[in-house]
């Protein structure tokens, strides 16, 4: 059952052709891992799904057959959540408010309901005691876990992760991946741009390898790591696994 589908997507930044004829699809509960060298268009791909990058030059993306380009912003952002590389927690709001305010403003929940749900989520990621702290006082790993809670609180059908561990010190990567592991186990549908090949191998339903704006290879992790079809994929894996 196809849940998400991208068809012949092209995207330009000015004259730069950032995405070239990108097509793929996946089902509900899948974890699509997107990898590739920097500048390959991975982030552009994920940011064009929720229109942060701007409108597509051509092609289409859809969820359950509904075109994302014509979807109203409210609905689009309700259905698709996002976790950023640099967390982007609201600096002037406490951890709790970061998770509660969006629920109140976008979902129309009451103050109490929103706070309750926020506390529940914080408890799940082991940060219940940080509810009243400001983001700047948290470590990167803690901030990213809060950011995941903020996205989850909106009950999205699809969660986008834009290199969620790239801005973290090595010792904090584990705690964030642990939370993501829990989400995958719980059946959350996710697109994850990442360099964490261990995560990709363990939890990816499918791996999308991109280079120069194109999808070079798409395969389940077992096949992707054991015998990649494309020379470019092999070169990339060589570099990332053996250095």
């Amino acid at each position: 059952m196809t849940f998400f589908e991208a068809r012949d997507v092209n995207f330009h930044f000015g004259s730069f052709h950032a995405l070239r004829d990108v097509s793929f699809e996946f089902g509900k509960g899948d974890v699509l891992v997107v990898c590739g060298p920097s500048g390959s268009g991975k982030s552009t791909l994920i940011r064009s799904i929720n229109r942060l990058a701007g409108p597509l030059t051509s092609g289409s993306m859809s969820i359950e057959g509904r075109d994302l380009a014509n979807m109203r912003a409210r609905e689009l952002y309700r259905r698709i959540g996002m976790v950023f590389q640099r967390f982007n927690l609201f600096q002037h709001l406490s951890v709790l408010e970061n998770i509660a305010l969006p629920q109140r403003r976008v979902l129309g929940k009451s103050r109490r309901e929103a706070a309750e749900r926020a506390r529940g989520l914080l408890d799940r990621v082991g940060l219940a005691d940080k509810a009243d702290s400001y983001p700047a006082r948290l470590s990167g790993g803690q901030q990213q876990r809060v950011a995941i809670c903020r996205a989850l609180a909106m009950e999205p059908e699809l969660l986008l992760f834009d290199e969620p561990t790239s801005a973290l010190d090595p010792e904090m990567v584990g705690e964030v991946l642990q939370v993501m592991r829990g989400l995958a186990a719980g059946g959350m549908t996710m697109i994850v741009v990442t360099h964490e090949m261990g995560f990709a191998r363990e939890l990816g339903t499918e791996i999308l390898f991109m280079e120069a704006g194109q999808v070079v290879e798409r395969a389940p992790p077992a096949a992707f790591f054991a015998n990649p079809r494309e020379a470019r994929t092999r070169a990339f894996l060589d570099q990332i696994l053996h250095h």
Binding site: A73, G81, F90, Q91, P102, V106
Partner: protein
């Protein structure tokens, strides 16, 4: 007897001079802030023409002394048959001049905002109004309120210059008392102390606010 009359003079000086300073500052601060918001939005916009206009506004007022400018307004407006009296002239001059500095402050505050904050707000589904009200403006304001208060100190000090268009504010009154009493040290010390109390108070508030902001935005 001499001392008594001096005390009397000093009290009268403070009582009649200080309110004028405060009223002038407040009445000019509000339009200056409005100018600053407009200028700051223009200066941080993506349209080159708007940025140029804001930049020119700032540049000119940074180059021309306020004393010079108040004369220009004072003599310039009647030239266009605008007759608004000295007090309004003073407020217009203060507002225009300090609006330029506030333009720079607000432009800096807006440009200093992390783009990711706005993106995150979009990705969560906030509308434009919610984004401005809940995220962008609170953060910009938090960052610039100490600077705006700092600007209000400069404004208090600049009110001393409006005496040249015939307004009897604190400094001018002080000068009159000096001429009458021939006690320049005592009288100008009193005048200076009055300004000092106002400015130092504002500075103190600005520092307190800055410390609070830093507590929120910095690690430890």
């Amino acid at each position: 007897m001499v001392l008594l009359s001096l005390v009397y003079d000093a009290a009268g000086l403070i009582l009649s001079g200080m309110p004028i300073v405060i009223v002038l500052t407040i009445s000019a601060f509000i339009p200056a802030l409005a100018l600053g918001v407009v200028g700051g939005l223009m200066g941080s916009s993506s349209y080159r023409l708007l940025r140029f206009i804001a930049g020119l506004y700032v540049y000119i007022f940074r180059s021309v002394p306020f004393l010079m400018f108040i004369f220009l307004v004072y003599y310039g407006l009647p030239y266009y048959n605008v007759d608004i009296g000295p007090v309004t002239t003073a407020i217009v001059a203060l507002a225009l001049s300090h609006g330029a500095y506030m333009t720079e402050i607000i432009r800096g505050g807006l440009l200093g905002l992390d783009k990711g904050q706005n993106e995150a707000a979009i990705a969560i589904g906030f509308t434009l109004t919610q984004r401005l009200r809940d995220i962008v403006l609170p953060q910009a304001l938090m960052a610039i309120i100490p600077s705006l208060l700092g600007q209000s100190i400069l404004m208090v000090k600049d009110t001393s210059l409006v005496s040249v268009v015939g307004i009897s504010e604190l400094t001018r009154l002080g000068r009159e008392v000096v001429i009458r009493t021939n006690e320049p040290f005592i009288v100008f010390t009193i005048v200076a102390a009055a300004y000092f109390v106002l400015c130092f108070g504002l500075e103190w508030i600005a520092r307190r606010l800055e410390a609070r902001v830093r507590k929120i935005t910095s690690r430890q």
